[in-house]
């Protein structure tokens, strides 16, 4: 099967890919604004996206192509534990509802474009601003690389060999992001999300019907895990309870610290837009839960895969006619373009506002900001492409895992300021540093696993390293702020006013 080019699938795939390419270039005229004259236009689409555009955009860049490949792959490999993505993407929304409208208001009032802008505005600390900006950029790069991995998995299944297709796809993406900015992924997200909904809803009806119903699907997966043993299974092994819930909570708190999700928040036109989206976005979570089940369907279909990332492409290839798998693969590949574009824009905004403007050219004009950001978005994408072409895929996976841990450490600096001014910049910086160092060291010494175990008394507790690092981060920030506050309350108050 692989090696043989699937011409029908390839044709359908190329048709949809060409369609979104045209849309990407046309997008610069959509809801028209002077794209090159102001970073608000290129980097935030003019800060005018209403409820539905924001729904498609955030849905399109939060639930990435990599998710569609990786979540079923994990569920296929280990069972219930892989489902932590479901509670994670549910509890994230009460958090978004409570916090993100406040963040939007601060950004809107002051013309902020990035998280680091907000932090600098609140604490007047260049060091803390730089810490938040660099964390965002570094955490985003491997995430972009993983979108390419997702795209590569489906292209390979269609029998196209070599690196050329993926390089071509990425150059096209880079060019229309350069010319249209955030408007391109916002417009393409409509097509991508509708295609993904069609694919997944079809799959969750048709596949179980072919395999004897959901009861049979779960039974087949249960049998596979019974053979496999260990901590796999259809329910959680008791040793994984805490790991499951801390991963869900930690991931939920980290999700909207990333530049690509925050870009979606800042680009919306009102705080109410974000509140309504907190109610409407869970529709995608339902979809994600169903996508995860593809991992069990692969057991029922008795697929033999050489790597778990092939589970989803192989399942479509095996159970559907060629034209439909081409459609599904196009949905996944386009699903990689939207987040990759928004991520590169988010990273470019950070570099422009919090590195270039802060350190290289403070007198930069609005048009100058837009052009620096456009060029940076190209550099970021070339970097991610080089990453996937020249380094093993495992590096991208490991770095993305560490990226989640790192981005979570910007939480106190960004979120606490919305509720209190008690914390000091130096304290937050110290907390950030300790969290990152401890988290990275712990994950590293456990062989780059997201979980660590501490033993209290007789029992060991296994938990998500990122959340442990965040707790440490907050404690250090609080203690340092308390000490600084006692030493120089008057000086601090004067510095602030």
């Amino acid at each position: 099967m692989s090696g043989q080019i699937q011409w029908v699938a390839v044709s359908v795939f190329v048709f949809f890919f060409a369609l979104v390419t045209v849309m990407g270039f046309v997008a610069s005229r959509w809801k028209s604004g002077p794209v090159s004259e102001h970073l608000d236009e290129w980097g935030l689409g003019g800060r005018q996206f209403g409820t539905w555009i924001t729904w498609f955009l955030v849905g399109g860049d939060f639930y990435t192509a990599y998710t569609v490949i990786a979540v079923p792959a994990l569920v296929y490999a280990v069972g219930a534990y892989g489902f932590f993505a479901l509670p994670y993407t549910i509890i994230v929304y009460p958090f978004v509802f409570a916090v993100m409208p406040l963040l939007w208001k601060v950004a809107h009032r002051n013309g902020y474009v990035t998280a680091a802008d907000v932090v600098h505005g609140a604490y007047q600390s260049r060091a803390l601003e730089l810490a938040v900006a660099l964390t965002g950029i570094v955490a985003t790069m491997p995430y972009i690389a993983l979108q390419l991995v997702g795209m590569g998995a489906v292209i390979k299944t269609m029998g196209l060999q070599g690196e050329l297709p993926i390089v071509a796809a990425f150059i096209i993406l880079a060019l229309y992001t350069y010319s249209s900015g955030l408007r391109a992924p916002a417009l393409i997200a409509f097509v991508k999300d509708i295609m993904i909904y069609i694919v997944v809803l079809t799959a969750v009806v048709v596949v179980p019907a072919k395999l004897g119903g959901y009861g049979a699907v779960f039974a087949a997966a249960g049998d596979a895990f019974a053979v496999k043993g260990g901590t796999t299974g259809l329910t959680l092994h008791p040793s994984l309870y805490l790991a499951y819930s801390t991963l869900a909570l930690g991931s939920a708190l980290a999700a909207f610290m990333y530049p690509h999700t925050l870009t979606g928040v800042f680009a919306s036109k009102s705080a109410g837009t974000i509140r309504k989206n907190a109610i409407l976005l869970p529709a995608y979570t339902l979809l994600l839960g169903l996508i995860a089940l593809l991992g069990y369907m692969a057991h029922a279909a008795q697929l033999k895969v050489s790597s778990p990332n092939e589970v989803v492409p192989q399942l479509f290839q095996t159970l559907f006619p060629s034209w439909f798998s081409g459609f599904a693969f196009a949905a996944i590949a386009i699903g990689a373009l939207v987040p990759a574009a928004v991520m590169s824009i988010g990273a470019a905004n950070l570099f422009t506002r919090n590195v270039w403007k802060a350190y290289i050219n403070p007198a930069i004009t609005h048009a100058g900001e837009a052009s620096v950001a456009k060029i940076t978005s190209l550099v970021v994408k070339v970097g991610a492409l080089a990453f996937t072409l020249f380094l093993p895929v495992q590096y991208a996976l490991d770095l993305q895992l560490l990226g989640g841990l790192w981005i979570l450490q910007t939480f106190p600096a960004l979120v606490f300021t919305l509720f209190t001014r008690w914390f000091r910049a130096e304290g937050l910086l110290a907390g950030w540093l300790v969290g990152i160092l401890w988290g990275t060291y712990t994950a590293w010494s456990n062989g780059l696993k997201p979980l660590a175990t501490i033993t209290l008394g007789e029992t060991g507790y296994t938990f998500y390293v990122g959340l442990g690092a965040l707790i440490l981060n907050v404690v250090v920030a609080a203690v340092a702020s308390a000490i600084l506050g006692r030493r120089s309350p008057a000086a601090e108050a004067a510095a602030r006013s």
Binding site: A80, F83, L86, P87, I90, I91, Y93, P94, F97, A98, K105, P208, G213, Y214, G215, A216, V217, F218, L234, T235, L236, Y241, Y244, S245, A248, L249, K269, S270, A271, G272, R275, K276, A278, I279, L280, P282, T285, L286, G289, L293
Partner: protein, 61 residues
């Protein structure tokens, strides 16, 4: 006070012993799966209840 409803999904989903069972199944789905899927619409509903109770300061546009 109604804002406390936003905490309910955290309790329902982060305490795993609540739902780590196979039975009862629903449409072939073990309890572990349909329980968590059911929290998707429940959470939306809870957030909507809080949304509805708030003054809509900036929703004119």
């Amino acid at each position: 006070m109604i804002r406390l409803l936003l905490l309910v999904p955290f309790v329902g989903l982060l305490w795993v012993p609540f739902y780590n069972f196979m039975e009862p199944t629903l449409f072939g789905f073990p309890f572990f799966y349909w329980y968590q899927l059911a929290w998707v619409p429940i959470s939306s509903l809870l957030i909507w209840l809080v949304y509805r109770s708030q003054p809509h300061d900036d929703e004119a546009n």
